[in-house]
């Protein structure tokens, strides 16, 4: 399976500019609403204003209704159809499949950021905050800490200098937020 993003490979300077330059998140409070395409997820979004580029950039926050997993991503369809920068609070570890990386270091567990290298290959990484287990735990459990961390990592903030706030709907299913699986609900043979 060829996982190279050709759009990003071909426009790597544009990609770098999108991530690195200062950006303003235009919505102060992002309200999560049910996602049309997936009943188990809530989603919210805001437009982003880039320092030098005028292409539409959208900031997405999505949260699973049934566990605490959430994701944050930046999308710019002028660059590529896929999100070009992401954060995953939970879910599978990513494999940075490069021969120069020793095998045991190829696994990057969640929470992690997802970006691309100059060949358009997806790469996952943890920044200094995520490498510290106790700080990573706080990020996992609180979507607003996650949003702040994400904004710092991709050089985005509100005009006021603060970070946007996510207003999260109360979980509709009786899963407590930090529980991953409620085994009491399931019968196994």
């Amino acid at each position: 399976m060829n996982r190279t993003n050709k759009d990003i490979k071909d426009q790597f300077d544009f990609f770098k500019e999108l991530v690195a330059a200062d950006k303003i998140v235009l919505t102060k409070t992002i309200q999560l609403e049910p996602k049309n395409s997936n009943a188990k997820w809530l989603t919210g979004q805001s437009y982003i204003q880039h320092e030098t580029r005028s292409e539409d950039i959208i900031f997405f926050v999505e949260r699973s209704k049934r566990d605490s997993k959430y994701g944050i991503k930046l999308r710019c369809t002028a660059l590529t159809g896929e999100p070009f920068f992401r954060f995953d609070s939970d879910g599978p570890a990513h494999r940075n499949d490069f021969p120069d990386i020793p095998l045991e270091e190829q696994s990057v567990t969640t929470p992690h950021f997802n970006s691309y290298n100059e060949d358009g290959k997806p790469i996952a990484y943890k920044n200094e905050t995520l490498k510290k287990e106790n700080e990573a735990q706080i990020i996992i459990e609180d979507i607003n800490f996650g949003v702040s961390l994400f904004c710092m990592e991709c050089n985005s903030k509100l005009l006021s200098g603060d970070f946007p706030t996510v207003i999260d709907k109360a979980p509709e299913i009786e899963f407590s937020a930090i529980q991953n699986i409620n085994f009491d609900n399931i019968s196994f043979e």
């Binding site: 399976m1 996982r3 599978p92 570890a93 990513h94 045991e104 567990t109 997806p122 699986i181 399931i186």
Partner: protein, 270 residues
């Protein structure tokens, strides 16, 4: 480096790749198995109903492995899942939220590693099966382009005398690519194309069968010509390799197949 050192190095890398997360009610094993979309498979161990249950925590069903969605793959992926479930003796159940859990149970601690091994292999297989696009896009595109070009050519030259994807009344399930009516005479046409020899020859076979059935129609006296238009620009067109099928086609048609690069011949014949 001697053999023993190489062995130790590989063993230690493989072992160190396996990681864990202690969850509130399960132990997540981040296994050393990875999928073709670069995800490491996780399985979840929990103790419930006096059994040890190893599950995928609903991650396949919730698409936590982020596999692409190909509508036309559903049928084949279902078959793959059924086969893998039976091979690895994996069961599935739904939680109250409607999420499907794949799981295996074991009776004692000694069986855990083997069960983790099986469920991990199962997940790798299923996730990889979801990653593959089974529809041959190149073939679909080629077929669609040729069909459209041929249709347009016939429409330009025969306007309302041509009916596309049409059948004879008495054999409604046998569709010809085009039926042209001139006066009381009928002209049956089929198209043959393909991005590979196999696809091309399948089209030839279809034409042969259609014409064979066509001559059994009660309208057979009205059928003036049975013609096949072959896309000689397609990669699957290998006239010297498909000779026997071409020979059979010639028996079922009234003329030599018309090559697309010589399409003006159609106007001479019809």
């Amino acid at each position: 480096m001697n053999n023993q050192e190489i062995i130790e190095k590989i063993k230690s890398s493989f072992c160190n790749l396996t990681n864990f997360k202690v969850r509130q009610n399960a132990l997540e094993v981040i296994t050393a198995y990875s999928t073709i979309n670069s995800k490491f498979v996780s399985v979840f161990i929990t103790f419930t109903n006096k059994k040890i249950v190893i599950t995928d925590s609903g991650w396949i069903d919730q698409n936590y492995y982020e596999t692409p969605l190909y509508d036309e793959s559903e049928f084949i992926v279902d078959r793959i899942i059924t086969a893998f479930k039976s091979s690895f003796k994996v069961k599935s159940t739904f939680d109250k939220g409607g999420v499907q859990y794949y799981y295996k149970t074991c009776d004692n601690l000694d069986q855990i590693s083997s069960t983790v091994f099986d469920l991990s292999n199962f997940i790798v297989g299923v996730v990889n099966a979801f990653c593959i696009q089974y529809k041959d896009e190149k073939e679909e595109r080629e077929r669609e382009t040729f069909r459209k070009d041929a249709n347009d050519y016939l429409k330009v030259n025969y306007s309302n005398q041509v009916k596309l994807r049409h059948s004879l009344n008495d054999f409604p399930s046998i569709k010809f690519n085009a039926i042209i009516t001139k006066g009381s005479k009928l002209y049956l046409l089929t198209y043959v194309t393909g991005s590979t020899q196999t696809y091309f020859e399948n089209d030839l076979r279809k034409s042969i069968v259609n014409f064979e059935i066509g001559v059994k129609s009660k309208y057979q006296d009205l059928i003036k010509e049975r013609l096949t238009i072959v896309n000689d620009q397609s990669e699957g067109y290998l006239a010297n390799k498909s000779t026997s099928i071409f020979e059979l086609l010639k028996e079922k048609t009234t003329r030599e197949p018309v090559k697309w690069t010589e399409k003006e011949r159609i106007l001479e014949l019809i």
